[in-house]
Symmetry: C2
Subunit: 214 residues, 2 copies
């Protein structure tokens, strides 16, 4: 089972590594990090560099595609080789997935038209501009299309997907292996429950948070 994780300049590291840590532990998993220009790909802070050893052409028929988000998503919205690869790969994937603003890339490539999908809470409404149906949920399954909300939600998405692929017991074993028994010290991970002034602060800077640019 080949899992292709797309990387691009200024991706958000946890968007990619969360699902990787879960899906990579599935029996028979073979993970490939792919980028339009293989090599070291820098994250949104420019301090973390992940190696992409494959070009999209090297992984024409992955079983699972994972598209992370991050400020660099804004540069992946135009039609071109990455969209071509996503569309071609999607013809034979078992699952086409995204984390955070990765869903905007999938939508821009035309893969979420008319489908229910989610994204980072600050970007979710943009899905509608690209033909998808925005849903305020942390993980959204619509057929083989699975989208997750912001950054850390990729872990939840991947565990749910692992259960669909390999059964509950295997997914639970992976969860116990990574000791995923989350106890955040604050209840501030959702705009519905974070302090109002924090929500306002992030909304005010949303363009910077989402694109790294003002």
């Amino acid at each position: 089972m080949q899992i292709a994780i797309l990387l691009f300049d200024r991706f958000t590291a946890l968007d990619a590594v969360g699902p990787y840590q879960v899906l990579g532990r599935l029996p028979g998993a073979e993970v490939v990090f792919a980028a339009e220009q293989p090599g070291l790909i820098g994250d949104d802070a420019g301090r973390l560099h992940l190696s992409a050893e494959a070009a999209p052409a090297d992984v024409p028929h992955p079983d699972i595609v994972v598209v992370p988000g991050g400020p660099g998503q804004a540069d992946q919205m135009d039609d071109g080789p990455v969209h071509d690869w996503l569309r071609a790969a999607d013809e034979t994937t078992a699952w086409t997935t995204s984390v955070c603003t990765g869903s905007l890339i999938l939508a821009a490539a035309g893969l979420l038209t008319g489908r229910r999908a989610t994204s980072h809470w600050l970007a979710r409404s943009e899905l509608g501009q690209h033909g998808a149906v925005p849903v305020t949920e942390r993980v959204v399954f619509d057929g083989k299309y699975v989208t997750a909300a912001g950054v850390s939600s990729g872990i939840d998405m991947a565990l749910a997907l692992a259960g669909r692929i390999a059964g509950d017991a295997t997914a639970q074993a992976i969860q116990l292996g990574i000791e995923y028994d989350p106890h955040p010290p604050y209840d501030a991970g959702s705009p519905d429950r974070a302090p109002a002034e924090i929500v306002t602060r992030l909304k005010t800077h949303s363009r910077f948070i989402l694109t790294g640019r003002v």
Copy 2:
């Protein structure tokens, strides 16, 4: 504020990237990935490679040290350059931290003697063999020493630490930015609540899970 994250062959990716994603967003944070041999460092599955741009000697006085765990921890237990660096850096750190079996490395370097600490649930009892006091908690603060349980717990640890360093509002803004509102699809992340047969399965293979070797 310099944050040095130690990498070594066969580290577990999320152990390093979870805290990175949180602590790297603190105001003034400068993250450096350091390894005894700088370059591309392969994770426990050998499929993910993170770039370590610094040698320990390049970061003699970090404000925060983060030591991840993973199967490669077993090769980091002997005294040598990594332990020398950890001890020297610890003399001036504000916080010396670990995720998963990274606490065993800190303990072997003599930094947790007599201190309360945690680790991956399968490895926690080993802390006692290295002079630490094992505690069954997800995140343990003992003075400036902060240890987290298995893999995913580094996110909780880093958010708690972010709160101590920059205040609750900044930590909450980081949490909301990464939409850390966890909803695992199963309640299997702790040996206290996972199905008994899953716990038994992992215990049976614990040596393999922890070291990658049988």
